[in-house]
Subunit: 214 residues, 2 copies
């Protein structure tokens, strides 16, 4: 068991048996997910924006143009809630009521800060490329000074977080098991298809793209 | 071109060439997605929760236990922002800076209301089963009176919304095209695997599960 990230804000009240506050469990979900949904409050209204996140140790990173609404707001130190969800399957019960989904989700609360140190910023942007596609960072042209200035990197400590996980088959009311209704799980996976090489590129598809996986 | 759902709140300011306010475009994204991320403000802090949504006409529906934190808050008429994102591919450019993702996202702002009319509620719950798996609703045991009472259904008008879409290959700086770096797209799809029949079920896998698709 790694560190617990349970706080009053992260305590799961509904179906608490599905909850986990274990840092390693939460990190694994964050690492597998390619996108997150980040929420912030703007003029008293909630705003939820999809973006790429990545993790390094116990920090979650985000990046984008300094003109991005999400980045501009988070940079100003407003509270955020970052949620990622991995959908693993459709759970088909005999009753409509007991239909469900298998999923792994993680919620992180906190306040992001700008990464202004040049070395940390370069390291973070390298880790981003590796997060999206392991093996890719050694091949790409790294950011130049203009691009570095055009990229805002924010980091958020992963100290207040929770995971919620459902696995397994349908759970029906006892009397419904006798009904002649198919029940089971349709597993779902985010699957890569064959890479499509850019029309202006004559290089062979590298192994990390041809055999892409998470 | 169907109705425009553009309002000041939904106007996309960053990369506006990727934005759409066309109701049909937004509906298609909402219909394909199996989950959304709903945001609301609780004690001045943003909260983002994954949940199932479904659409009927120009209304978006949600459901859950009356004990659910998300449902309890939305039922009270607080503002919400509901965002869905479909990830279509990883865009690998020659430079780290121009790496991107292909995606289709939709953002809906508004205030939800409880569906208390019994007929509308039953119709909505039927539409939910069909949203998740077309053809399934005719097979399942429908909700009984106790289950109906235990299920809160909320509806949100889809009147203030936007979509954002990126498609296509990498766009590199002109001088980078000469670099010996592979560039292209790794397409991603949410793919169903073979259904796993429940241990206590002896029925054959129905066509809609065996050939599940969206």
């Amino acid at each position: 068991m790694s560190a617990s990230l349970q706080t009053p804000a992260t305590t799961v009240r509904r179906l608490p048996q599905r909850a986990s506050y274990d840092a390693e469990t939460i990190h694994r979900i964050l690492d597998e997910a390619l996108i997150c949904h980040a929420g912030f409050v703007l003029h008293d209204r909630p705003v939820v924006i999809p973006t790429i996140h990545w993790r390094d140790g116990d920090r979650l990173y985000f990046h984008g143009s300094p003109a991005s609404g999400l980045l501009r707001n988070l940079r100003n130190g407003v509270q955020t809630c970052v949620t990622v969800t991995l959908l693993d399957g459709l759970v088909m019960a005999r009753s409509a009521f007991h239909h469900s989904m298998n999923y792994r989700s993680a919620v992180v609360f906190g306040t992001a800060a700008e990464v202004s140190d040049r070395e940390e910023k370069l390291r973070a942007l390298d880790a981003l490329v590796e997060h999206v596609c392991r093996g890719r960072s050694k091949d790409v042209r790294p950011p130049n000074e203009v691009e570095l200035r055009q990229t805002l990197v924010l980091s958020l400590p992963i100290t207040e977080a929770s995971a919620k996980i459902r696995t397994g088959g349908p759970v029906d009311d006892e009397e419904d098991y006798a009904l002649p209704i198919w029940a089971g799980v349709i597993p779902l996976n985010l699957t890569p298809a064959e890479p499509v090489t850019d029309a202006r590129c004559s290089m062979e598809v590298p192994e990390y793209a041809a055999r892409y996986g998470r």
